[in-house]
């Protein structure tokens, strides 16, 4: 039985048939044309069923809606069903497509995978160049040393002030050894702080003109402990691309955003700082640092500190200055790069240096204002988690600084030696000097590089070997580790010392000239 109002919209029995056909049509649509045969067989049954359902549905829904008018439109029974259908279709469309359920791996499958897995070996195949051993010294690494029983002139030790073999220093070390033994047997926090450490820190701070300093037990660990102590994730660091591995490791461990600028190029630094200053709206919360070396050991260049300080003040950055090779060398009294350029020491935020070069001892220090130094005592990992510097090395450092303060003339000798060496090496064929005229690391690079780093190194090593074997002069080429990211060219480094005599310098220039002429 179809109610009257339905009759009015649906119409007569012809419309009835149309309505059933509509339902039938839907069935056909849903099952697809291929199944139409089956459908036809069941057609009659379905027609009956559909009609019955529609009658029931219309009776159930239309009774209350008998006179419902929504928005001026009569709400008819079939409209409700159609709306429900559309809702169902929309609902199905929003469901994700069918995915097979994830089955975890069974124990046997895991066993098979573990059996199949073949690890790479711990080390790559050993090549011939890996088997090369460096020459063994049989005496102190002073300006003259003994290799394989022969006496050679040593230009491979960064003994800039000639303090190796200095009697005063050795005496203070002996006294220290007899009193304290060799090691300090503990980290600084747990009875590893010996009074010589505190004396050494005060002495260095007094020499540099800063309030305080902090001692580290190894030169290279200084910089890669200081950088992560101050730079955290999210900070910005602008660094020269020629820095050595210690700095690179510190930058990696700090997880900050690192931006490199071209080696010792102030225009590149300025444009990098400009770009960063404009891109950053959160500038107040983010710490910004510039990291440079005073004297780059990968190229012998000296950083122009006055330009860097000017840029730092303009763009509000802090400077971390790595002075391993310039402490005790640059400046009138050896106080480093700040003295050379006449920059007041308070403008440089953090200075680090390894003491294994000019001071002829081991370890490192970091200095700056009181806040900087205090912060490191608890948060610098190389200071807190490592045993402290052996006390005899700390007393050697104090003795070396005293010597430097009392004898500033040793710097004049050093500068004279560098100048002589420059003159001697100026016309060596195939090699050109690329370091700064004030730098005690005289860096010679190949005029015409072979194109590959490996071949360059081979050639340079051959030259160094021949110079050692034939002329008894010990020079070395730069070393590159596989982990080093620096891309500067390799070369020969000649370390000049104040302990070298004029004849030593002449010897090395002549020897290099001879061997280079033959090989290049």
């Amino acid at each position: 039985m179809i109610p009257s109002h339905l009759k009015s919209s649906v119409g007569d029995s012809k419309e009835d048939a149309g309505f059933s056909a509509f339902g039938l049509g839907l069935e056909l649509e849903r099952r697809g044309a291929l199944e139409s045969l089956k459908v036809e067989v069941m057609a009659s049954a379905i027609v009956n069923a559909t009609t019955a359902v529609v009658e029931w549905a219309s009776m159930a829904f239309d009774a209350p809606f008998a006179d419902a008018v929504v928005f001026g439109v009569h709400v008819d029974g079939h409209l409700v069903v159609e709306v429900l259908l559309i809702a169902v279709i929309l609902f199905q469309l929003t469901r994700k497509s069918y995915k097979p359920p994830k089955k975890p791996l069974s124990e046997k499958e895991i066993d098979d995978l573990c059996e199949e897995w073949v690890p790479e070996p711990l080390h790559p195949p050993i090549t011939e160049e890996m088997k090369v051993e460096p020459p063994t010294l049989e005496s102190a690494a002073g300006p003259h040393t003994v290799i394989d029983g022969k006496e050679v002139v040593n230009f491979a030790s960064s003994n800039y002030l000639g303090l190796i073999g200095n009697e005063t220093i050795i005496d203070s070390c002996v006294a220290s050894l007899e009193k304290y033994g060799v090691g300090s047997c503990g980290p600084r926090g747990f009875y590893g702080t010996i009074d010589v450490h505190l004396d050494c820190e005060k002495r260095i701070a007094k020499f540099m003109g800063t309030p305080d300093s902090i001692l580290y037990s190894y030169g290279i660990s200084t910089i890669f402990s200081v950088i992560p102590a101050f730079c955290k994730k999210g900070d910005i660091i602008v660094v020269d691309e020629g820095v050595h591995w210690g700095v690179q490791n510190g930058l990696y461990l700090s997880r900050s955003n690192v931006v490199y600028f071209k080696h010792n190029d102030m225009a590149s630094l300025e444009s990098t700082l400009e770009k960063l200053a404009h891109g950053n709206k959160q500038a107040e919360k983010v710490r910004r640092y510039i990291v440079v070396e005073a004297l780059y050991q990968n190229s012998g260049q000296i950083a122009p500190l006055n330009d860097i300080v000017r840029l730092k003040e303009k763009y509000r950055f802090r400077i971390i200055l790595e002075e391993s090779h310039s402490f005790g060398v640059l400046g009138n009294t050896g106080r480093g790069l700040a003295e050379l350029y006449g920059v007041p020491i308070e403008k440089i935020d953090i200075i680090t240096a390894g003491m294994g070069n000019a001071l002829a001892t081991d370890g490192g220090f970091c200095t700056g204002n009181a806040r900087v130094v205090d912060h490191q005592r608890l948060s610098s990992s190389g200071y807190v988690f490592s045993a402290s510097l052996p006390p005899y090395l700390a007393s050697a450092a104090v003795a070396a600084v005293n010597y430097l303060e009392d004898n500033p003339s040793v710097l004049m000798t050093l500068r004279r030696n560098i100048h002589l060496l420059w003159e001697g090496l100026s016309d060596v064929p195939g090699l050109m000097i690329v370091s700064d005229p004030l730098s005690p690391i005289v860096f010679l690079k190949l005029k015409n590089s072979t194109g590959s780093l490996k071949n360059d190194l081979e050639l340079l090593n051959k030259i160094a070997e021949r110079v050692l074997k034939e002329d008894s002069v010990f020079i070395v080429s730069t070393k590159r580790s596989v982990l080093d990211k620096c891309r500067l060219p390799v070369g020969i480094r000649v370390f000049v010392s104040a302990g070298h005599t004029e004849s030593d310098i002449k010897k090395v220039s002549e020897s290099l000239r001879r061997v280079a002429t033959e090989n290049l």
Binding site: C114, C173, G183, G382
Partner: protein, 490 residues
């Protein structure tokens, strides 16, 4: 294993909460006072070096008890040493040295075999080598920094440890940080014990490899982690891992426990992963002839791929070494940044290690080495059993010279430390962040240089102070009965 009584946990949490609340209150007042004072123009535009919360712990908790740490000494760190007295005028914010010292019993330095002070065999040789080679070589190992002393040391260390070859560095911390990145990089996996030292964590982070942690000393959990990781492969790409290295330590310095080496090695061999053993505290200190945990636990050194150790603790010098197969050592000499860029080890320190190893091996012609090894074993076992009998909660295994005594409460840390110092016993107390927050402890390091009388004196003082401070968490054993009944009191 640490058994933390509930009441103690509650009181510890309450103490830290109180300290935290007071710290925040003081910070609040400090901010108000600073707001009135104008900040200097120089710092305008610069973000502060330390944001407020980063050094909250330092400023408000650590500075209160700063006098318990970094105590300077004025003599060699032998069995008895001179601790410099310090005073403070501004409630421990800054400490000033005085010229006065007090002689104290040293229970804190890492002087396991007693080589810390001048030794009759080692010191004359060290002084001779100092006069010959100077305090430093001023060059890197591959340039002019290799002397015949360095070569001798490497051969000797390899022989001592039981591996074919060895390479030495000037600092133990740098050894870990610079070796791990050379051996493994991106695409590799490092599985390290959850309580590994900071240098290993830094090395693992610096290598770029993925790092997973397994439960401390739990070989079963290590196996689970290994199976899961090998089956899954690298995250997201599911490619197989290039190589896997498992890093464990011989003796864990904050727990005093020995590593469960045989089980862990068995698991690693089964799954073809490489092992790296850091023997910083155990080389020279444990084992019948001082050769470390491998000797003590009966593991063949050939089963461990890389053995690392330091010379600071048992040999009284400085520096670290890696002992491995000839090929690995050759590759490390070619590629390791610490070998190629860092100053070589100081020659007198090298000579000290050579002499110390010769004494331990008995090659100096006397039996002092064997005596020292027997002494430290006796001392450690005696001290540990006595402490346990008194009712302290002591961690660690037998034969290990490191024994932590649990303190828990933050107030007991300075109390224990200062009281002991008043009675002329110097102890080391460790708190957060070197240990978990609730588990503060005092750590005793036994040395072969201490005699039985020294230990008895130390025990007396610790017992007295322990009663005063209230850290005897277990019932003391009555001296007549010998049974060990450990029941929780609280």
């Amino acid at each position: 294993m640490v058994r933390l009584p509930y009441v103690t946990a509650l009181t510890t949490l309450f103490s830290y909460g109180l300290l935290f609340a007071f710290g925040q209150l003081r910070d609040f007042f400090r901010r108000i006072i600073d707001w009135f004072k104008s900040s200097s123009k120089d710092l305008k535009g610069y973000a502060p070096i330390c944001l407020g919360l980063e050094d909250f712990y330092t400023r408000r908790l650590y500075l209160r008890i700063q006098d318990c740490f970094s105590r300077p000494i004025a003599s060699a760190p032998d069995a008895w040493f001179d601790v410099v007295e310090r005073y403070s005028k501004d409630n421990n914010k800054t400490l000033h040295r005085t010229a006065k010292t007090s002689q104290c019993l040293n229970l804190g330095s890492y002087n396991y075999l007693g080589f810390a002070a001048a030794d009759e065999y080692c010191t004359p040789r060290v002084i001779k080598s100092l006069k010959k080679y100077s305090p430093s070589t001023c060059s890197i190992r591959v340039d002019g920094g290799t002397t015949d002393l360095h070569n001798e040391l490497e051969l000797l260390v390899a022989r001592f440890v039981g591996k074919p070859a060895a390479i030495t560095f000037g600092m133990g911390y740098v050894t870990n940080s610079a070796i791990i990145p050379v051996l493994i990089g991106k695409g590799g996996l490092i599985i390290s014990d959850s309580l590994n030292h900071n240098s290993i964590v830094n090395g693992a982070r610096g290598s770029g490899a993925a790092v997973r942690v397994f439960q401390h000393n739990n070989a079963a959990h290590l196996e689970e982690v290994l199976r899961e990781q090998i089956a899954e492969g690298q995250p997201r790409t599911h490619r197989p891992w290039k190589k896997i290295i498992v890093i464990v330590e011989g003796i864990y310095s904050m727990e005093g426990e020995l590593c469960q080496l045989p089980e862990i090695i068995a698991v690693c061999k089964k799954y073809k992963v490489y092992t790296y053993l850091d023997e910083a505290h155990s080389i020279g200190a444990v084992g019948k002839s001082g050769k470390g945990v491998c000797e003590l636990l009966g593991v063949d050194p050939a089963d461990v791929d890389l053995m690392m150790g330091t010379f600071t603790k048992s040999f009284g010098s400085c520096g670290g070494y890696i002992a491995a197969s000839k090929e690995i050592v050759q590759y490390l000499k070619h590629a390791c940044p610490a070998h190629l860029y860092a100053t070589s080890m100081s020659p007198p320190a090298v000579q000290q290690v050579i002499s110390a190893i010769k004494v331990i091996l008995g090659e100096d012609g006397s039996s002092r080495g064997a005596q020292k090894l027997a002494q430290i074993r006796e001392n450690s076992n005696f001290f540990r059993s006595e402490l346990k009998k008194m009712g302290f909660e002591v961690l660690g295994d037998n034969d290990s010279p490191v024994m932590p005594i649990m303190l828990y409460n933050p107030a007991k840390i300075p109390a224990f430390s200062r009281e002991c110092l008043r009675h002329n016993v110097a102890v080391v107390t460790v708190a957060f962040p070197a240990t978990p927050l609730l588990l503060a402890r005092a750590r005793i390091c036994i040395s072969a240089a201490q005699s039985r009388e020294d230990l008895v004196k130390g025990l007396e003082v610790i017992s007295k102070v322990g009663d005063l401070v209230g850290i005897k968490y277990f019932p003391a054993e009555p001296p007549k009965h010998g049974n060990q009944a450990h029941k929780k009191v609280e």
